[in-house]
């Protein structure tokens, strides 16, 4: 994949237009991106009393409190596990469906809308659906999971059961996006390459692992990034609708905790410090992504 030059070879110069044209974007970024980001950074060094009457510069105390808080550590751990599980399940299911659609001789066009529409489902709606299907009052899945047992499944009380609900809601909503990208990735593989592989290797499964999957790697890598970011940030809507009054202890993600500590707990300094930690994590992930993407992925 040749890297195109950063800019066009031919450009206009000596014109006020570029300044006028980037101005709206820069203004919006300045006011609603830079300022809040710097503000988060600043606030993370202050301790504010819950009524907002006074605040005190406390150096790194907020950070120290966070890192020493066993609660934060466990939320951190469960966010990682949650993200990994959501990512692998939603990519895995989508991969299976996309490979099947791509291999169909007939009707492959008919399946496409049936598998892509769920892109448009809001995480909040996915949360609502998951909540009622698993609801102790009316949920068929609640009844089904507890059938013939002494009622082991209690998503309102048990954090593991709560994770099951959150994961299934989050995965369900995300399959369509992954399906669209993987199917496009599969269709971009040149037919002649697959035909050459067919002559070289009679085993369909091995052919998939040794030819198709490596050629699909750029797509899958891209989706890995997208899905992790989705699982970390966008699933707030799922959690907050499944548990409008908060999930059982132990079933929170980092973003949810930022929100709860900042708004409900009114701990602005602590919440801001958590925001800053999140920013650092995202930046680190992005760096790794840029480094990794150069080296390990086969481009066609």
């Amino acid at each position: 994949m040749p890297q195109p030059a950063l800019m066009k070879r031919v450009q206009f110069s000596h014109s006020p237009i570029p300044y006028l044209f980037v101005l709206p974007q820069i203004l919006i970024i300045g006011v609603f991106f830079l300022w809040p980001s710097l503000e988060a950074f600043r606030l993370s060094f202050f301790l504010e009393d819950p009524w907002g009457l006074s605040n005190q510069f406390v150096w790194f105390e907020n950070y120290i409190t966070i890192f020493e808080d066993p609660d934060y550590q466990s939320v951190f751990g469960s966010t990682v596990v949650f993200s990994v599980v959501v990512t692998f399940l939603s990519i895995g299911i989508a991969l299976l469906l996309a490979v099947k659609v791509d291999g169909l001789l007939r009707f492959s066009m008919q399946y496409r809308p049936l598998l892509t529409w769920a892109y448009a489902v809001a995480p909040a709606v996915a949360g609502l659906v998951a909540r009622f299907l698993y609801s102790p009052q009316i949920g068929p899945l609640y009844d089904w999971l507890n059938a013939g047992t002494d009622g082991w499944f209690e998503p309102r009380l048990d954090p593991m059961d709560a994770w099951l609900v959150l994961i299934s809601g989050s995965v369900w909503k995300q399959i369509s996006v992954n399906f669209i990208f993987i199917l496009a990735g599969l269709q971009a593989i040149p037919r002649t390459v697959l035909e050459a592989a067919l002559l070289d290797n009679p085993n369909g499964g091995r052919r998939f692992l040794s030819i198709t999957l490596p050629l699909l790697a750029p797509t899958l890598f891209f989706l890995l990034v997208i899905n992790i970011s989705y699982a970390v940030f966008e699933t707030f809507g799922v959690i907050d609708t499944v548990y409008p009054f908060g999930p059982p202890a132990g079933a929170e993600t980092l973003v949810y905790k930022v929100y709860v500590d900042g708004f409900k707990g009114a701990d602005l300094g602590g919440s801001s410090a958590q925001s800053v930690i999140l920013m650092v994590i995202v930046l680190a992930l992005t760096m790794i992504q840029f480094k990794y993407i150069e080296k390990r992925v086969h481009y066609t």
């Binding site: 206009f12 988060a40 809308p113 529409w117 998951a130 009052q137 990208f181 409008p244 973003v255």
Partner: protein, 287 residues
């Protein structure tokens, strides 16, 4: 046996079975929510979520759309839908206008601050709104923009995904088009209006569809921004449904379900009707 093998190969029954399970997995939950919205709450409490649609569908939706009752005490679903359309369309249009202009400046001009501004814009891709949600709230509150469409829409535009989308597309436009236009006497402004905007038409449409859905589905930001019921969007309305259901003795499941279905229909409709364009836009955005 040969005939059977041929039939098996041609009709691919296992593959179809897997795909049909996949289709049902995606569709059944929504279908059951829809079907159940046609029953009175008492029936649902006794019998659980239903598969066949109840006979009160029309009543339920009519009531949700027009009555200020139950959990939606101050506002009808019609108003929430309107707010959602304003958010979805306003967000999409704002984002397209702002990002097209910025991308034009970045791709087609050489100016002293270009690379600095490019990196500033690029950095917004790294940090989603969620990580700076509290200070963003403070900034918007300080500016007096709480409970306004401006405060709802503009901060969401701060991420530069659209700028990168158009930058990618502009760079794929052959350079000779610009050269030909310059020989034909088009300056920077004319080139933008006469040539670049018209040839970006399908890209604009594709991005519009995606951004409409993204804007419509916003949850956390409206949740923080709106304390006044006049600005509640339908996706945010779901939260109050949930709280109501947890708090009341006879929860109005049917009305909650109807609200969810209403929140789903416009984005799903847009995605299905403009499927080709939407997929094109989505795939383009990743390059």
């Amino acid at each position: 046996m040969n005939g059977f093998a041929y039939w098996w190969h041609r009709t691919q029954p296992v593959d179809h079975a897997i795909l049909i399970i996949g289709v049902l997995f995606l569709a059944l939950p929504i279908w059951m929510i829809f079907a159940s919205s046609g029953y009175p709450p008492e029936y649902l409490i006794q019998n659980g979520v239903q598969f066949w649609p109840g006979d009160q569908l029309i009543q339920t939706y009519d009531s949700v759309l027009h009555d200020r009752r139950g959990f939606t005490q101050q506002i009808t679903a019609t108003r929430m839908l309107m707010n959602s359309f304003i958010l979805g369309i306003g967000f999409a249009v704002g984002k397209i206008v702002v990002s097209m202009m910025a991308a034009y400046a970045i791709v087609y001009f050489r100016f002293p601050l270009a690379s600095l501004l490019f990196w500033l814009i690029f950095s917004t891709l790294l940090l989603p709104l969620e990580v700076r949600i509290i200070p963003s709230y403070k900034v918007v509150a300080d500016l007096g923009l709480l409970n306004s469409y401006t405060g709802l829409i503009v901060p969401l535009i701060a991420s530069a995904t659209g700028t990168f989308f158009f930058r990618q597309f502009f760079r794929s436009v052959p350079e000779e088009i610009l050269e030909a236009a310059r020989l034909d006497g088009a300056g920077p402004w004319k080139f933008f209006i006469d040539i670049l905007v018209p040839i970006s038409k399908t890209m604009i449409a594709a991005l519009f569809i995606i951004m409409f859905v993204v804007g419509w589905n916003q949850y956390l930001w409206p949740l923080l921004m709106t304390t006044n019921d006049d600005y509640v969007t339908i996706v945010y309305g779901i939260k109050s449904v949930m709280q109501n259901i947890d708090e009341s003795r006879i929860p109005e499941y049917n009305r909650g379900f109807a609200l969810a279905i209403l929140a789903l229909l416009p984005p799903i409709g847009v995605v299905l009707i403009f499927q080709k364009m939407f997929i094109k836009g989505l795939l383009e955005s990743d390059k």
